[in-house]
């Protein structure tokens, strides 16, 4: 299993990855509460970015409505917990199911009728907006007044019910991120992964090679929406409150895609590096502005936007592709290892 997963990955890339994972595993022992909170946010965006990347980075379908799947995952498990006392891990399959069902409807409507590109993106926004308005009036889960999970001061971690201290949440989101990474790694090097990349590069050419593009685009949205739902479960139990106006807001969807765009769309490490950069940048800017005592309203956002602009202008394919060449873990070096004979 391990051997299969690591096939074709250069040794020092595996070592670097192991070091990164080890650093993240021991981090809570050294990090204060503030740093731990920042790391949780980073991993949350690394996870959701990875899920979004399956659609856009692998299959070339731009979704601007991934907050929908986060929100459905969050509301489903929160409702099951509050109303029926069903724990988040048992609720999670239900959350995934509902998310995937919604993804299936959007995918079917779009791909069956040849809606692509920006029109597809608009459709995904529209569905997230429907959900926002719908949940505003959905009184069973609090409507626009919000939905709250019971909170107490936890001295013990209850992993089964996801009630506990930040370190527990940290390990939960770290595990989710690691699983998502391995899943995407496997997908990228599979038949489905190559068919997705062919569709992303040129859909008509892909069809001419016998690829049923409708079916594979459906797989992409089903997997991506299903992967996104657990992020919502985490969100609900970590923050303990859900408001439709925030959960399904388009800004939430935009936040999800910033990481992979800055890090590198269609790469495995892009969403992770991107999450570190955007969240780290926001925190550092906050610190700097406070340090200099310069904090007019909106200043942070303006600087944040400018920094992102500069990164995108200098590195149009994201940070990871050039960084991977620098670390010598890119595909070129990866491939010199397997000199296959005909």
């Amino acid at each position: 299993m391990m051997k299969r997963l690591l096939h074709g990955v250069p040794l020092h890339a595996t070592v670097l990855l192991a070091l990164l994972l080890a650093a993240l595993v021991v981090a809570p022992a050294f990090a204060n509460d503030y740093l731990l909170t920042v790391l949780i946010v980073i991993l949350y965006f690394a996870y959701t970015g990875q899920a979004w990347n399956v659609m856009m980075g692998f299959a070339g379908q731009l979704s601007l409505g991934h907050a929908l799947y986060v929100g459905l995952g969050a509301y489903t498990t929160a409702a099951l917990y509050v109303h029926f006392g069903i724990g988040p891990w048992i609720g999670m399959p239900m959350a995934i199911l509902i998310s995937v069902a919604c993804g299936a409807i959007i995918g079917f409507l779009a791909f069956r009728f040849g809606v692509g590109g920006v029109y597809f993106a608009i459709l995904t926004i529209a569905f997230a907006e429907f959900a926002r308005i719908g949940f505003d009036h959905f009184s069973w889960v609090g409507g626009s007044a919000g939905f709250f999970l019971p909170v107490a001061n936890y001295s013990h971690d209850d992993l089964m019910n996801l009630r506990g201290r930040p370190a527990m949440f940290y390990y939960v989101i770290l595990a989710l991120t690691a699983v998502a990474f391995l899943l995407c790694h496997a997908l990228m090097r599979s038949r489905v992964g190559y068919f997705w990349q062919a569709i992303r590069e040129d859909e008509e050419a892909a069809r001419s090679l016998g690829i049923d593009t409708f079916r594979y685009k459906m797989y992409a949205i089903l997997i991506s929406s299903g992967m996104t739902a657990p992020a919502g479960v985490f969100f609900a139990f970590y923050y303990n409150n859900l408001f439709p106006e925030q959960t399904f807001f388009i800004l939430r969807s935009i936040e999800i895609i910033l990481g992979p765009i800055i890090g590198g769309v269609g790469t495995l490490f892009g969403p992770i590096i991107g999450a570190f950069l955007i969240t780290g940048l926001a925190e550092v800017l906050q610190e700097l502005l406070t340090w200099y005592g310069f904090d007019p309203p909106g200043a942070k956002r303006v600087f944040y936007g400018l920094c992102l602009l500069v990164v995108v202008m200098i590195l149009p394919h994201g940070v990871w592709p050039p960084l991977s060449r620098l670390l010598r873990v890119d595909r070129e070096t990866e491939r010199t290892g397997d000199k296959a004979e005909p």
Partner: protein
């Protein structure tokens, strides 16, 4: 012997413009068959109907004993027809071998056997040494051969080639002709090609169909077709002989 491909009276209109008008021909198994004609004659449109991109307005297309007109392009490919595009359409971000592997994955779901199959095809097309380059870095002659390699990797019974020699220098054209001849010889693959380069057509094709304004104006063996007055007048011009 029954024809591998039988096209019967197919037509296609584009909002009033008659791109293909009542064309009938048949390609026997194992043959190299050429379609020639001036620009705008309807050659690519004819290909697109066979490949499933357009549904013919009239007529029918039978391949390997089954009606395929109206099938989707991917279904047509799965039935055994590979095609290239006149304007090449590689997957630019993928490497040369990945491009061909995507084609091979159709019949070889296992990744490593698809890669092995891709390497075999790359050898045939003289692209093996460039297999790890991104497709976007290839020159036009290489891209044209990549286009053929990718289609071949789907293991078709019939290969449709749309002007794969256009824009090539004479030495490159000869190289392509040799490659196609060898594939046809070794595997018995049936090839239907659209071509402007008459030198290539004359040395490859067993039979030629001439299209003009969407209609077939001549069909037969190369030596006879190029002497028909209608063909000379409409397409070849006196000096081409």
């Amino acid at each position: 012997m029954a024809a591998l491909l039988a096209v019967e009276g197919i037509s296609k209109n584009f909002s009033g413009l008659r791109a293909v008008a009542d064309v009938t021909f048949a390609v026997p198994e194992g043959e190299i068959f050429a379609i020639i004609g001036p620009n705008g004659a309807g050659k690519t449109t004819l290909f697109n109907m066979i490949a499933g991109v357009f549904r013919p307005d009239t007529g029918g297309i039978t391949f390997d004993g089954t009606r395929i007109d109206g099938m989707t392009p991917d279904a047509v490919c799965r039935r055994g027809i590979g095609r290239t595009f006149q304007l090449v359409r590689p997957f630019p971000a993928l490497t040369v071998e990945e491009n061909v592997m995507v084609g091979a994955l159709l019949r070889h779901p296992n990744l490593s056997s698809a890669l092995r199959r891709a390497h075999e095809v790359l050898w045939r097309l003289d692209l093996f040494d460039k297999r790890t380059q991104p497709a976007s870095s290839l020159t036009l002659p290489d891209r044209k051969r990549l286009e053929v390699a990718r289609a071949l990797a789907t293991e078709p019974k019939l290969l449709l080639l749309d002007e794969v020699m256009a824009g090539l220098r004479p030495t490159e054209t000869d190289r392509m002709v040799e490659i196609l001849k060898k594939i046809n010889n070794d595997t018995g693959l049936t090839i239907l090609l659209i071509e402007h380069v008459m030198r290539a057509v004359m040395s490859l094709a067993a039979r030629i169909l001439v299209l003009h304004h969407g209609a077939a104006i001549a069909e037969g063996v190369p030596e006879a077709v190029v002497r028909e007055p209608a063909v000379v007048q409409s397409y070849l011009g006196a000096e081409a002989l």
